[in-house]
């Protein structure tokens, strides 16, 4: 996951790397994702979310569809 000033520089990076443009997150969305994923990571109780939990976490910040589904096979022939 890389950082960009704008969608314009994302497009430049995608063109230079032959990579399709994929979802963009605002910094607020990214922070919310980081908090859910990592705020308890240093504790004994922490664990990585399972696949269904991941879908719920992503949906809670507006990220839906097969791109955000770890069980999706929609992208298995690409990177």
């Amino acid at each position: 996951m890389l950082l960009f000033r704008s969608g314009e520089t994302v497009d430049r990076w995608c063109a230079a790397n032959g990579s399709p443009r994929r979802p963009l997150l605002t910094l607020d969305q990214l922070w919310r994702l980081a908090v859910v994923w990592y705020e308890n990571r240093l504790t004994a109780e922490s664990r990585r979310p399972g696949p269904d939990e991941m879908v719920s976490v992503f949906a809670s910040i507006g990220l839906t569809g097969p791109f955000w589904d770890p069980k999706s096979d929609a992208f298995t022939s690409s990177t």
């Binding site: 996951m1 890389l2 950082l3 960009f4 000033r5 520089t9 908090v35 994923w37 990592y38 791109f67």
Partner: protein, 149 residues
């Protein structure tokens, strides 16, 4: 027993990372947990299978990633608590601030232009900026090559 070992190893790794900014070797974790080094190496593999740890490719006694921390320097340094940490990606850079529960400065760059883009976390919130994060890899493929992801 394996579950107890794994918990002790995980907590030892994160304690060292949070206190020093660097990842411990298997021998250091063994000394810290009083487990044998072979037991620690086996735990590294189980934690990797649970997607909580990535041993260094070719050297299973070293840690490449203990998300959100990186065991090696990266393009995502995080300055917090008076020391420098390294994250695996921009998501993990915020993740270090979230895990440590402290303010942080993240001197990153635009991946296309190299322009410096500094992120900050102050009082448990990101300083608002119009930048964006691009997720190039779908969630289903993140662990196919987690270092690239």
């Amino acid at each position: 027993m394996e579950a107890e070992d794994d918990l002790a190893v995980k907590l030892s790794i994160y304690r060292t990372l949070s206190e020093t900014g660097g990842a411990p070797t298997a021998s250091r974790v063994a000394a810290d947990t009083r487990l044998g080094e072979e037991a620690v190496l086996a735990s590294f593999q189980r934690l990797h299978a649970r997607r909580l740890l990535v041993p260094e490719p070719g050297d299973p006694s070293h840690i490449r990633m203990a998300p959100p921390f990186s065991g090696i320097p990266t393009a995502f340094p995080v300055e917090a608590r008076g020391r420098r940490y390294f994250a695996n990606c921009v998501w993990d850079a915020y993740g270090i601030a979230a895990a440590l529960k402290c303010d942080a400065v993240i001197p990153a760059t635009d991946a296309a232009s190299g322009e410096p883009l500094v992120l900050e976390v102050v009082e448990n919130a990101p300083v608002p900026l119009p930048y964006v994060a691009h997720f190039a890899v779908p969630a289903a493929l993140w662990w196919r090559d987690i270092v690239y992801t």
